[in-house]
Structures are given as C-alpha cells and as structure tokens.
Subunit: 306 residues, 4 copies
Amino acid sequence: MTDGIVLGANQYGKAENRVVRIVRDTPRHEIRDLNVSTSLRGDFSRAHTDGDQADVLPTDTQKNTAFAYAKEVGVSSPEEYAVALASHFLDAAPAATAAQVRVEEQAWDRIAVEGSPDGHDHSFVRRGTETRTCVVTVAGRGAEQRTWVLSGLQDLVVLKSTGSEFRGFLKDAYTTLEETDDRIMATSLTARWRWSGTEGVDLDAAYAEVRATLLSTFATTYSRALQETLYAMGRAVLETQPQVAEIRFSAPNKHHFLYDLGRFGVENNGEVFIAADRPYGLIEATVAREDAGDAGEAWTAVPGFV
Amino acid sequence: MTDGIVLGANQYGKAENRVVRIVRDTPRHEIRDLNVSTSLRGDFSRAHTDGDQADVLPTDTQKNTAFAYAKEVGVSSPEEYAVALASHFLDAAPAATAAQVRVEEQAWDRIAVEGSPDGHDHSFVRRGTETRTCVVTVAGRGAEQRTWVLSGLQDLVVLKSTGSEFRGFLKDAYTTLEETDDRIMATSLTARWRWSGTEGVDLDAAYAEVRATLLSTFATTYSRALQETLYAMGRAVLETQPQVAEIRFSAPNKHHFLYDLGRFGVENNGEVFIAADRPYGLIEATVAREDAGDAGEAWTAVPGFV
Amino acid sequence: MTDGIVLGANQYGKAENRVVRIVRDTPRHEIRDLNVSTSLRGDFSRAHTDGDQADVLPTDTQKNTAFAYAKEVGVSSPEEYAVALASHFLDAAPAATAAQVRVEEQAWDRIAVEGSPDGHDHSFVRRGTETRTCVVTVAGRGAEQRTWVLSGLQDLVVLKSTGSEFRGFLKDAYTTLEETDDRIMATSLTARWRWSGTEGVDLDAAYAEVRATLLSTFATTYSRALQETLYAMGRAVLETQPQVAEIRFSAPNKHHFLYDLGRFGVENNGEVFIAADRPYGLIEATVAREDAGDAGEAWTAVPGFV
Amino acid sequence: MTDGIVLGANQYGKAENRVVRIVRDTPRHEIRDLNVSTSLRGDFSRAHTDGDQADVLPTDTQKNTAFAYAKEVGVSSPEEYAVALASHFLDAAPAATAAQVRVEEQAWDRIAVEGSPDGHDHSFVRRGTETRTCVVTVAGRGAEQRTWVLSGLQDLVVLKSTGSEFRGFLKDAYTTLEETDDRIMATSLTARWRWSGTEGVDLDAAYAEVRATLLSTFATTYSRALQETLYAMGRAVLETQPQVAEIRFSAPNKHHFLYDLGRFGVENNGEVFIAADRPYGLIEATVAREDAGDAGEAWTAVPGFV
C-alpha cells in the first residue's frame, strides 16, 4: 500500500470454548469446567490485505487443540493448561509472535449424601460464587521466549451491613450526597494478580489463599471508602504472596440506599434498603511492589481496567 | 361497550422490588436479600376503558408497602412476608379480588475470619447457588379468604459425570442419535412445590430439607432418562414432606457432548466434553398426591410450566 | 404405584433450535432467522416411572426434524412452519396427545448499497427491533385434530415524551406518588393474539398490520394510564383483524423519573429524566371478543401471563 | 509506606448513568437516550492509603453533573456533551489529572402515523440496531490541556448469505476444518475510530456516514476471510473520513454451520444452517494512517481490544 493506510495491531482466535474435563481414573471423579479463549498475534498482514490464509492457523484448529490438550496435557491448574496451550500455538503458527490464552473456571462441589462424609463420587452441584480466571501470554521462541501469568477472579459478591462510612469528601455546586457514618458497602469484585514467577507455586492452593485473604480483609477492615478497602485488600495479598508482583481491582459500588420509611411513620435505623442497579460507582485500583518489574505483555488486550 | 369487544383477565403491580432487610438488633446481623413482585387482580375495568384510576392502588404504593412491610412485619420467611403483603393489598384495594406476591431470595454466607468460628458478624459473601422462590396468592375476603403458597428454587445447577444412560427410545426417519450407556447428565433445575397447608411448618427448615432431598436423590439415582430422575426427585420430596401436595419441575437438559479426539489420535473415554448452549432438551413434569386437592388459583399466572 | 403419588402434567422437547433458512433459488436471497422450540405432551409415564424410553421420540430427533422441515416444508410464515412441525410430531410419536411449537423470529433488512435501490441481494443487517413470535398447539388425530395459533411480538420498545398523565388514583397510608399531568410513558411490549382461524390470512402481512396498529394507537392515544393505552391498542387490533379472537399484553412500565435539577438551580421542565431499571410497573391485560369461543389448549404452558 | 508496596494506576467514577434528554422547545420533540459513564484519574492516594476523601469528588456528584449538563450544555452530539463533562470534572476535582467520559446512545425512530409523513411529534419506537458509542478523554489544564475523541458503534449485526469463502489456511495435526468456497459470514461488529481532530466535523452526520460506509463495504466486498473484510471496511472509512486517524474492530465470527440434512435424504445446498452460540471466532484489527500520530491517552482503559 502506498496511500498511507496500514494494518495496525491485530489478533485473532477462538473465544469461549466450553471445555469440561472429567478425570475418571478412579471411581471418584474430578471435574474442571472451563471457558477457554485463545488468540494469536503477529504478522498476519497477508490475511488482511490479500485474503491469503497461508499463515492463518484456523480458529477451528485452535478449538480442537483446546479440547485435545485438556486430555493430552490435562488441567492440573488453569494456568498450567493455558501455558501449554499458548506455547503450542507459537510452534504451530510460525507467523505468530505471541499467543494469549484466557480461562474462566466454574467451581463445582460434591453433592452431600448419607454415608459419604466427603460427598458423592460423581455427582456435583455448581458452587455458583465467583469465577476463577487466568490470562497467560507467551511471546517469542526458543531462548527468547517469555511467559506472563495473571490469575484472578470475577463476580465475587460481598457486602458488609455496617463498618463503612463515607465522609469529608470534596463538595461542589452539584454535590447533594449526605455524609454518612454507617452504610451498607457491597461490591462484585473483579481482581487479577500478576505473578513475577510461578515456580514452586501450587496455583490451586494459591488461588484459595488469595481468595481467603481478600474476603477476610474485606470483612475486618473498617472502611472509610471503597478505595481504602481495595487498597487494604491488595496490600494483604502482596504481604502474603511473595511471588505476586501486583494486583488490580475493578469494584462496582453496588449501592444500597436506605429506604425512606419515615413517610409512613416507620423507623428505619439501617434496616431496610433498596438495592440499586444503575448507575453505580466504579472503583479501580492497582496495588504493586515498587520493584514489580516491567509487566511486559502481561496486560495486553486484557478486557477492562483489570 | 356494545360492539362485542371486552376486557378479559388482567393484573397489575410492581415487579422486582429489590428489598434488602438487615436485622441488627444485636451486633450479629442477619440479612435477607429479596426481589419482590406484587400484583393485583379484580375488577379494574374503569382504568382500562375510561382511564379512571379511582380503583387503582398505584404500583408505586405497592412498592412502598413492600419495603415498609420488611420492617413492620419482618421476613421470618419469604412465604410469611408474602402472605402478609398479599393480604394487606386486598384490604387496601377494594376492587381487587386476588393479590399475588412473588419473592426471589439470594442467600449470603458469613465470611470466614480467624477467631470467629461461626463467621463474621456483619460481613457476607453471596452464596451464589440457586435462588429460593415463593409465590403466594390470596383471594377473597373475610371467611371466604383463601391462601395458596408455592415454595421453590431456580437455577440449581447439578451434573453427574456418569451413572446416566439413554437407550431404547423411539426412532423414526429423522433419528440420528446414538444410544449411550454412559453420559454426562446436567441440568439447571427449577422446582416449585405447593403446600396443602403451612401450619406448623418451619418454612426455612423445610426449604433446606427439600433442597437436600432433591440433591441427594439426583446424586444417588441411576438415570435412564432425565424424566426418570425428575420423577424420583419429586417422589422423594412428597415422601418426606407430608404437607407438600405436588411438585413441578422444569429442567433443561444441559448437553455435554463428547468431543471427538479420535481425529487427532487421542483417546477420549468420557473425559473431555463440550458444554453446549443451544438447543437444549427441556423436560417438565409434575409429581402429585392423588388426593392433592384442587390447586385453585395457586398456579395462576405463574411464569412458565412451573 | 399404590402409595398415592402419581405423575401429573408433563411435557418434553427441544428448546431454542437456531434455524436459519436461506432461500437462494434466485441470486436475490431471502432469509428467515428462527429460534424454534418444540414439545410433546401425552402419556409418557413409562419414561418417568420405569425409565422405559420406548414412547419417547428423542429431543435430538425433534431438533433434526425442525431443521429438515425448514427445507422440506419451508418457512412461508413461522406459523405455517410450526403447524407442519407440530402435526408431524403427533404422527411420529403415537403416545403424544398434543404437540406445541414456539417460534421467535428476528428480522433482517437488506443493506443499502449504491446502485441497488432495493438493497443488496445477499447482505443483511439485523433490524434489531421487536422479536416476532408464534405458539402453535396441535392436539388429537384424524377428524378430532384441533389446531390453535397464537401470533405475537416481544420487546417492542416504545416511548412517548408527553401525552400521558396519571391522576385520581386510590391513596392509602403508603401512597407518596405525586399526581402528574405530563410524564414520559415507555414500555417494552409483549403481545400475543389468538386467531379464531387463519384460513385466508396472509400471516406475514397480518403481522405487519397488527404491529402498525399497535404502534399508531400507542402514538395517537392520549394516556390516562398504561392500562387505558393497552386496552385501546387491543381494541384497535380486534377492530381491524376480524379473525383475531383475543389479544393479551404484558407491558412493563419503564419508569423515567424527572431528575431534580432544581437543587443546582437548573430548571427541568420535562427535559431531563433518569431511566430506571428496577422496580417497574407491570401491566397485563386481555382484550377479547365476547364471542371469542373457547381457547382450548391455545395458552397451555405459554410462558408468563401472555 | 516503606515496605515497598505502593498504589499504582487507579480511577473512579459513576458508571451507567441512564440520561434521557427530551428537547421540547417546540411541539416536535427530540430525544437522546444515553448511558453515561464518568471516571477521574490522578493523585487520589490519600483516599486509598488513609481513607481521606478530601480530594474525592463523589461519584454521586459526577452523576448529578451528568444529568445537569444534559440541560445546561445539552447533547448536540454525544461527543460534544462528553467533552464538556470531562473538562468540567478537571476543574471540579483539582487532584484529577485526566477525566474520561464514555457514552452509549440508543437510537429512536418516530412512530409512523397517518397524516404525518415524517412521523409522530412525540411518540417513538426504539430503533434497536447498533449502539452508538464515544469515549472522550481530557487530560491536563490550561494551555497543556489535551482532548482525545473516539467515536464508535457496537452490536451492529450483519450477515451475508454468500460471497464468502475460507481456503488455503495453515494446517496442522489438529486441523479438521474443511475448506469452503461458499459460506454464511456474520458478525456483531464493534468499531471505534479515533479523530485526529473534530474541528468542523458534524459528528452526527459523520456517524451516519461511517456506519453507511461500513455496511456497504461489508455488503459489496467478496470475502476470503473476516480479516480481509474488516481491513477493507477500515480502509473505506479512512478514505472517506480525512479526520479519522485510525479505526479498530472487534468482530466475533458468528458461525452458521450447514445442517447435515443428507442423513435424512434431504438436499441442503446452503439453505439450512444452525446458528451457533459458542465458541466463536474473534477477529480484532486496527487500520490506521501511517502518519496517525501518537494516540496519547485516547485508548487508556477502553474496554477490550477496541
């Protein structure tokens, strides 16, 4: 092209492969329930400008591989599965310079049945709380190859019915909000944390630890703002997970407004609230180690602020 | 009107009031998180044909009442709250012949924190599994007043990774399905059960019992079809809850198809599945006592088959 | 069973078959984009109580048939396609006493291109407004066979920025709503109309006519309540469609609240509104001919009030 | 903090303010139906680390301002409204270094009524097709102030029933996809284009032009891959809009698979397809001028690849 119009950044892949892996080597089955999205980046200009697909590993092939690797490699953790898959795609597609694999995982619990204190062998009920996530990016080949791993969660819905205030804020001509020293604070948390390295880390155990840290910090921190609470949660994770370099949060402030019952002569001392849908506050923040190091391509094309 | 066009069945109300009730009589708070929909039926023809609102208790007033009753009456169970609310509306709106209140409840768990073996006093995490529901209909006044109570749940997602077959079915020229003696069976269950009476029933406890019965029956019943499993689940509920007259199910068959890995030389003995979105089988059934008695208006306008 | 617990009403089928039919007999293609759900009712007790599938035409077969019939029968209208499919299922499944087929149709427009005043031959853009629906129920065999046809639409979103009041309503202790003689009225309309017969009716043309009647009546009727508007819309349809026996509406009152700008010294004469999500009024009504005749199984298991 | 843990990038604001603006200066009303999200960035560390809100302009105030500006400034275009709002927030919040305002707009058409060839004065029906979007970022103060404007659309659903092939792609051991020289191609397009400057641009007219260019290019370009089609669409926009510096696309490949009717002896020459939900191909690409210039903060925190 000589008219000054060029192809810029691009990527392509297969999104939302619903891979369900059952481990049935013994009568006591295990289940991993994944939603896997893959993408390749690199020099795919011929496909764009000339319609020539010679460099393009089809998204259908990426899908096949995502399913095959659930058996060939297995899913010891979503992160390890994603690293294997992303690395493979760089081998399979010579024009690619980087591959990114995103995984969302739904948890299942064993159904409680009489006589089986640890739950049923092959019957499960969806846990239904937050979704576990990871984003793995692998770039380069051979000795130059670099791997970035983000772990995370989304839709962890938490609420505290007291222990939250909001006061002393900046006011202008459009400010009508009343200060409050007691309110409900609730959010549906999305968090992603970047590993400086995952060597020696049991990623399933680490996930449970980070989740527990986030929850207990939320519970026990008196909150003067959602910002303060997020920062405290981030600090707590970094203090307990030495291999986590940074953590990013996106937290909608799910407003619960005190319903005005005084109009009907009914007292309402923080007892009856209306949960609002929209609009909502949206608080996003990063907590990082000063020596976190360059994040490289870890966050490239990751949806949203986190 | 003399042209032979008339008003038929009608109802109106306020849908999806998001009522959150905190009980804070002690430092250990309780939370009930409700989505409340109200409706009135009766002779509201003047509002339709003449635009005369004199008989119409506004939906905004119904909203106010739903919030006020969360304090004035409280929410000892969704069902009892709904009965109080529906009865009140019949008093408040003389033109109404019946009132229906539907409630959906989201469950919250206390956040686990060190030093509090029973969880935090005022910090909660959304349980995230199924939604508990009820539909209460009250019709008539004074000695003629009748009350029907349906309890239920929706979005209880269960899966068994073996112990399910599907064979011996009717075949015609369009049948291509292979018989199978081992498959994944999964559903997102909706159930509603009708009480012949709720006197003496602890409705919160009964909910937990019915849920446990449904889950353990699903887990322990070898399935020759989703129909058979639903029927067994219904029987088990009726056998253990003498005051339940009937139970209705709506159960999408959430298909998990074995992914064909043989094309790549990879064995797949029931280990890797693709979870499909649409289409899905949809199985709906009622299990009832022969002497269940007339359901009256219990199911009027209840959404869907259940 | 002799313990007094029995199978009650039940049905099963394949929901949400996404059938896209392209007519390409000439270079100018036509498209029908359908979401088809099928269900069978009848004596399927053996499948429930004994796990015996001999009477069960699999939902997978129903799916295959839905796709095959899009070619074998074609889709001259969703209603005619549904009648053919439902009738076929009664032949294919001797245990069935009735079959119901529901169709949702998305409309597409031809893309405007230079030199083609009537739009492109084979490139389309989703119209994106309301979904057209039908529910067809066929019961019985031979001379006894009866067919009921409901046509409808859902998600037709309309708004009028004036010409709507709400006054003179019933008040009680919980009433705080102010009377208004000028407000926004908006709804996302669902309607279903039942045909007394469809002989000689061009169903595609009739759909367009009913839609136009609903819209123009909404536009030109001064509204003293959403109830009055719905009733007027229903009358208008019955007056112009002699073969429609009744029409049912479900209309959420999508509240638009005047935003209080006076607090900042800004006048707001019906100019700036906040569109609320929940709660919302929900108005449901039927308008019928007095001699509409028995609806039979037309409305059986149809989701919601309409 | 001296333990090496610090606050990183952060922002906060009010998301999804549903602002509906009616212009009623004459009996012929105009409507703009917006979903407005605001956010501020800068040095808000005290709120995070000390719970001190003195720098924090509450999200509630941002909400009030979004509604007030719909009247005080008006909405001549979403972009101009967003510029005014973002600039104001920098004045109102001294700690902010940048403000970003995102707007989504739903279009409404006037309802057709007899006797009004141009549609009704104050009754509207939701157009229902794509959502128009913009993202405006303003950074700095006084002479240093910079403004970036992205315009865009999302959920523009298009389909071509022929004129699309996919052949000659890279194959490996996991490739099973058949080459095809005739398929359905469909996508739900998201696009964002960055203005090098908006001086002299009629942004409402430009939106309509870009939309028309995208549609007609999609329609008339023979497609050897979705990549090629996107690139052609991007080129066409840049060729016709001299002030657009770059355009980014995210395009799910909404797969339509030919349904295998041969199993029932029915021919299917590209006539009956099943529309699949997941997984889907996801193609993302940028088309830019070589001299587009630095994008600065235009794309900071914009959700997704586009």
